[in-house]
């Protein structure tokens, strides 16, 4: 696991605070000069920052040693920057501590979510194409906030897809006018899907310029926005109704609108629009911008424009999701405390050895409790996925 960076080694430097390390590096640099001028002070600071960052970003396999194939060159800590990326499996040094590399796992979960989104929106094959893109770039993506995956040509993608794609026939391609009955080959299907993904407004795939012909990448920047908006819209429509969601969408797309314009575009009677706008304001999704008509800002004589501030909405949603998760957790605690007697019975050794000692009533209760806990926990994990989109994407 350490080879694939699922685990990363912990160095003692990691447990010293950043400011401490910076100060130490500065001291080291200062020792080189006796009297310092202002310019030299600046140079010292920059050199200190550079050396601290170099320590942190060392991309080596600390704590791994090569299998003792060549005993002359084996060392316990070996820098892998010397191009030894051919996958020689290195063994783990026993004295080094490791820690889970959360970035990598977050990326895996995020990729899964994107693939699911593609599958929902288009079809299963499109999801597989997106998955192939991610597989291609798996080893070189380091952080969640990157905007593009490494670029890939249709050939690469075609190599990574299962062979039965050709038989599915779920994409209609332009027929080659010369051979009418020529079945489309793998390459053509792949190219067709990539074009489809490219033209989709959700922005799955885009061309990467300057890297040669036919290079495509997954457009993570645009995907971020699309997925966040999708979460927002679905929550709005579930909680406040479809019409309210429609009004919010209109405002998001058009900018700042007057109440009459909103009413016309939403095709609702004016009383309803007023009610729904008030509801949205109460929940904090919509704001008012006052544009005065005269020199004094009398509210009676100014335009009031409604608008949606997207960042604020996302923050509200985030707090709401946190609150929901807290509620679920509290409920779980409450349910467990209600069933304390049952839990104590379960802790007994003779029951652990033989579950049949419980009578039927207890067994039914136990099953119900497990079902309850499962529901609570899966709800929490689904909300956690939502958090991934909103916060960590």
């Amino acid at each position: 696991m350490a080879n694939d960076r699922y685990l990363i080694p912990v160095l003692p430097e990691h447990s010293r605070s950043v400011v401490d390390r910076l100060l130490e590096a500065e001291e080291r640099e200062t020792e080189k000069y006796t009297i310092t001028t202002a310019k030299e002070l600046l140079a010292i600071k920059q050199a200190a920052i550079a050396s601290v960052e170099a320590e942190l970003n060392v991309d080596e396999m600390v704590g791994m040693k090569r299998k003792a194939a060549d005993p002359l060159n084996a060392q316990t800590k070996k820098f892998a920057m010397d191009g030894s990326r051919k996958q020689e499996l290195k063994e783990v040094d026993e004295h080094v501590f490791f820690v889970v590399n959360y970035e990598k796992y977050n990326m895996i979960f995020r990729n899964e979510l994107v693939v699911d989104f593609a599958t929902d929106r288009i079809n299963r094959t499109a999801g597989q194409v997106v998955k192939a893109f991610f597989e291609h770039g798996k080893n070189s993506m380091k952080a969640l906030h990157e905007d593009d995956t490494p670029s890939a040509t249709p050939l690469h993608i075609a190599n990574l897809l299962p062979a039965d794609l050709v038989e599915r026939g779920d994409i209609v391609l332009q027929h080659d006018s010369m051979n009418q009955h020529h079945k489309p080959g793998m390459q053509d299907i792949v190219r067709g899907y990539i074009t489809l993904l490219q033209t989709d407004t959700a922005g799955f795939v885009k061309t990467k310029d300057g890297a040669g012909a036919n290079q495509y990448t997954i457009n993570l920047g645009k995907l971020r926005k699309t997925m966040k908006r999708r979460v927002l819209e679905s929550l709005l429509s579930e909680r406040l109704g479809v019409a309210t969601c429609r009004i919010a969408r209109i405002l998001m797309e058009k900018g700042k609108l007057d109440e009459n314009q909103v009413q016309k575009l939403a095709m609702l009677p004016p009383k309803d629009t007023r009610e729904k706008l008030a509801q949205l304001t109460l929940h904090g999704f919509v704001d008012i911008q006052e544009v005065p008509k005269s020199a004094d800002r009398a509210p009676g004589r100014s335009f009031h424009l409604w608008y949606v501030h997207q960042e604020k909405c996302y923050k509200e949603l985030l707090t709401d999701v946190y609150r929901t998760i807290t509620n679920l957790q509290q409920r779980k605690k409450h349910e467990l405390s209600l069933r304390r007697a049952l839990l104590e019975k379960l802790e007994r050794e003779d029951v652990k050895a033989n579950m049949d000692l419980l009578n039927d009533h207890d067994k039914a209760n136990l099953e119900y409790m497990n079902k309850l806990l499962e529901r609570l926990e899966t709800s929490k994990s689904r909300l956690d996925l939502m958090l991934l989109i909103l916060r960590d994407f």
Binding site: V10, P12, H14, S15, R16, E27, T34, I35, H95, F97, L282, H283, R323, T324, T326, N327, Q330, R331, H334, E335, E344, E347, R348, E349, D350, V351, L372, E374, R375, L376, E377, T378, S379, S381, R382
Partner: protein
């Protein structure tokens, strides 16, 4: 979904007296306008917990893994629990309620390098605290050394002259040092030792300074 917030709002709202009993805005927002007039309902009502979709098989597996993980964490020495109170009377079921002994936190081997320096002496009494010296910057010594280098370079005159020069320089440096030690220019800016004042009084008036 506002059940959790109810408790905090009810407790806080009930304690205030006088004008302006503030109510949590979240309760109003979630419950609608009429929520305050309804009777207080349970925080955790006894209903079957609703769920939009059934857990899929992957979600089921994940829950099982998570359950095992949580149980494992409870067994590690890192999960600190209050030791159980001593028993009052012996009971029959005590035979079956054996509590597994967990490892002590101290038994875990660790690299002391990972801990901050201040804590290392607590875990392992033999390691004393590293005392940090403040950087003794010998400013005078540095200037001395530089001047000594400078005078040695002009090495055309005899050594005696050099010696005297160096001594003279020393004296001058001493005098300069005394004035330069204080950073404030009080002596130059403010102190007026009255030498320059006129001795004669004008009409015997009091001097306003």
């Amino acid at each position: 979904m506002s059940r959790g917030g109810f408790r905090g709002g009810g407790g806080g709202g009930a304690n205030r007296t006088g004008a302006g009993a503030l109510i949590s805005f979240d309760l109003l927002r979630d419950g609608g306008i009429n929520s305050l007039f309804k009777e207080q309902s349970d925080i955790f009502p006894d209903i079957d917990i609703p769920m939009p979709r059934k857990p899929t098989s992957t979600e089921h597996e994940r829950w099982m893994l998570r359950k095992r993980f949580l149980d494992q964490i409870r067994d590690t020495p890192f999960y600190l629990t209050v030791p159980p109170p001593p028993k009052d009377i012996e009971r029959y079921s005590d035979k079956y309620k054996v509590v597994k002994k967990k490892r002590h936190l101290r038994d875990i081997q660790t690299d002391l390098d990972m801990f901050p320096e201040e804590l290392q002496s607590i875990v392992d009494p033999s390691k004393g605290k590293k005392k940090r010296r403040t950087g003794d910057v010998d400013a005078f010594g540095q200037i001395e050394a530089l001047l000594a280098n400078a005078t040695e370079e002009k090495d055309e005159d005899g050594e005696e002259k050099q010696g005297s020069d160096v001594e003279l320089d020393d004296d001058e440096n001493f005098d300069d040092e005394e004035d330069m030690v204080d950073d404030n220019d009080y002596g130059q800016n403010y102190f007026d030792n009255g030498e320059d004042d006129d001795v004669d009084d004008d009409d015997g008036e009091a001097d306003y300074y």
